[in-house]
């Protein structure tokens, strides 16, 4: 048999496209352990889902042994990277019509996992900017949420969360690489917009001037929001590395 055909039969069996008898016969295997490999793969997917979505599994009362094979049948892994196995799980829950807050919780958990391991290096960006300049964190993710997931996960997961239509800003801690979530205020969104429009590093005083020119926010409030944005790593300065974000 050609190697390609051998690989193909295995693949068809593992993806449930041919049955055990067909696979055993085609691969000329007499002992009964071919099915074991399916169990191994299901176990890998179970492990990945348990690792990436512990809160979603708890809140939705998911039985991993049942849901994992279904997920695997629909969303095979197209990436050699093992951590990517859970990437499509939020989409899977959407397609299965789970409540929106469950879908959003799974997305929240994936974002948290994904950004912590991101290859983007904020420190490299800081090294490029001058002492008084600020820049937008290249890692920053903004995600629209309907439910207040960050509040909910600290309360009772078996109660429906409160609705709070908002944008959640996701960054990470410099030192521990933990995830930082920030509910975006109107001023924070305006700050981000200025950086997106200008598409360059901006000095702190210039940022204030740009903001004040088209905003009714007080100078004092604006200064506070800029400091908050720096603390949450939404924007970066030369001193960002020295800020203790882990507290």
């Amino acid at each position: 048999m050609k190697l390609k055909d051998y690989n193909k039969i295995w693949s068809q069996f593992l993806l449930g496209k041919i049955n055990l008898q067909e696979a055993q016969s085609s691969l000329k295997i007499k002992n009964p352990h071919l099915e074991l490999y399916k169990e191994f793969i299901n176990h890998h997917f179970e492990f990945a889902l348990a690792k990436n979505f512990p809160l979603t599994i708890k809140a939705a009362k998911l039985k991993l042994q049942e849901i994992s094979p279904l997920y695997y049948q629909e969303y095979q892994a197209y990436d050699w990277e093992l951590n990517s196995m859970g990437k499509q799980f939020p989409q899977f829950l959407t397609n299965k019509n789970y409540p929106l807050y469950i879908q959003e919780l799974s997305l929240y958990e994936w974002l948290k996992f994904d950004i912590c391991l991101s290859c983007e290096n904020e420190e490299e960006v800081i090294s490029d900017i001058a002492q008084e300049e600020l820049c937008l964190n290249p890692l920053l993710i903004g995600q629209q949420f309907t439910y207040d997931i960050t509040d909910w996960i600290n309360k009772d997961l078996f109660q429906t969360p409160l609705e709070l239509h908002h944008i959640l800003l996701v960054t990470r801690d410099f030192h521990l690489k933990n995830c930082l979530f920030t509910k975006a205020s109107q001023i924070l969104l305006e700050i981000i917009n200025v950086f997106l429009e200008q598409n360059r590093f901006i000095e702190k005083n210039e940022l204030k001037e740009l903001m004040l020119s088209h905003s009714s926010t007080s100078k004092e409030k604006l200064s506070k929001e800029i400091e908050f944005a720096l603390k949450q790593n939404i924007i970066l300065s030369k001193d960002s590395l020295c800020l203790n974000h882990s507290s």
Partner: protein, 278 residues
């Protein structure tokens, strides 16, 4: 070559132990990493890796996704990332398994048995030669545990591995636990199997725990190394008459760092008993 390649006894670098690893790095001779966990990601794993590199602790990249036994070519995005990782680590060798784990872009994330035919031999050897030529460091091929045999195979595993080594001059990563598991499941003599391999090419040994299901031993990397595997490890070293870099693998239900170091100390004692100079 053999003397220079001896690193001592190492541990698999796992996230659970990052803090301890950074505190206790002098207790462990070297680390092995799962290559794929460091090829796409930054964050804390990369920080820990860079910290170990700065302390000049050897780190060997060990992959699970090369899929040598697949008829597909090596994924170029994978190769580029592996190349970058090797550039960062500057390791004395890198390794992966004699298996296939993907077909036509679908990844199964498991080590599936290869077809042992002359065509397959040609494909696998070509891939190994290409990798060694481009990456300019030796590749070590690991024997896997398997739970079935196909009558499509034209040669035994020993013959197949021997021929690959002959065609590529690659190294071998001998997983002693896998040999033991296969020997029990398929009723053959484990040390005879090892003796039939091109043993001069063995550059590294893996030791791990397995699970006895009753009817079958299953390679889980989730338990202590069993007494029979320790005996086989000693017999292997005695037969090789030289120390070999040894790695304690533990990937599931990972114990404390101290428990892992106890297993490493056992390996060190055996090495010391076999070879005074280690």
């Amino acid at each position: 070559m053999q003397k220079n390649s001896y690193l001592g006894v190492g541990l698999g670098l796992r996230k659970k132990h990052f803090k301890k690893v950074l505190e206790n790095n002098q207790d462990v001779d070297w680390y092995e990493i799962l290559s794929e966990n460091y090829m796409k990601f930054g964050g804390r794993p990369l920080d820990v890796l860079k910290s170990l590199i700065s302390k000049k602790i050897p780190i060997i990249p060990h992959g699970v996704s090369l899929s040598l036994g697949s008829s597909d070519d090596i994924d170029q995005s994978y190769f580029k990332k592996l190349q970058q990782l090797i550039h960062l680590l500057n390791p004395p060798w890198f390794s992966d398994h004699l298996c296939f784990s993907s077909h036509e872009k679908v990844h199964f994330h498991d080590l599936l048995p290869v077809l042992k035919t002359s065509e397959s031999l040609e494909i696998i050897s070509h891939k190994i030669n290409t990798l060694q030529e481009k990456l300019k460091i030796p590749f070590a091929l690991e024997n896997i545990s398997y739970y079935l045999k196909s009558h499509l195979d034209e040669m035994t595993e020993e013959e197949f591995i021997t021929e690959i080594v002959k065609r590529t001059n690659c190294k071998l990563l001998l997983d002693v636990n896998n040999v033991y598991v296969n020997s029990v499941n398929f009723n053959f003599n484990a040390i005879d199997y090892i003796k039939s391999l091109p043993v001069e090419s063995i550059i590294q040994i893996h030791l791990a725990g397995h699970w006895n299901r009753g009817d079958l031993l299953i390679d889980t990397h989730g338990d202590y190394i069993c007494p029979d595997v320790w005996v086989l490890y000693r017999k292997t070293l005695e037969y090789l008459e030289r120390p070999v870099s040894t790695l304690i693998e533990w990937d599931n239900e990972i114990p404390s760092f101290e428990e892992l170091k106890k297993e490493a100390r056992k390996a060190k004692e055996i090495l010391k008993e076999c070879f005074d100079e280690t």
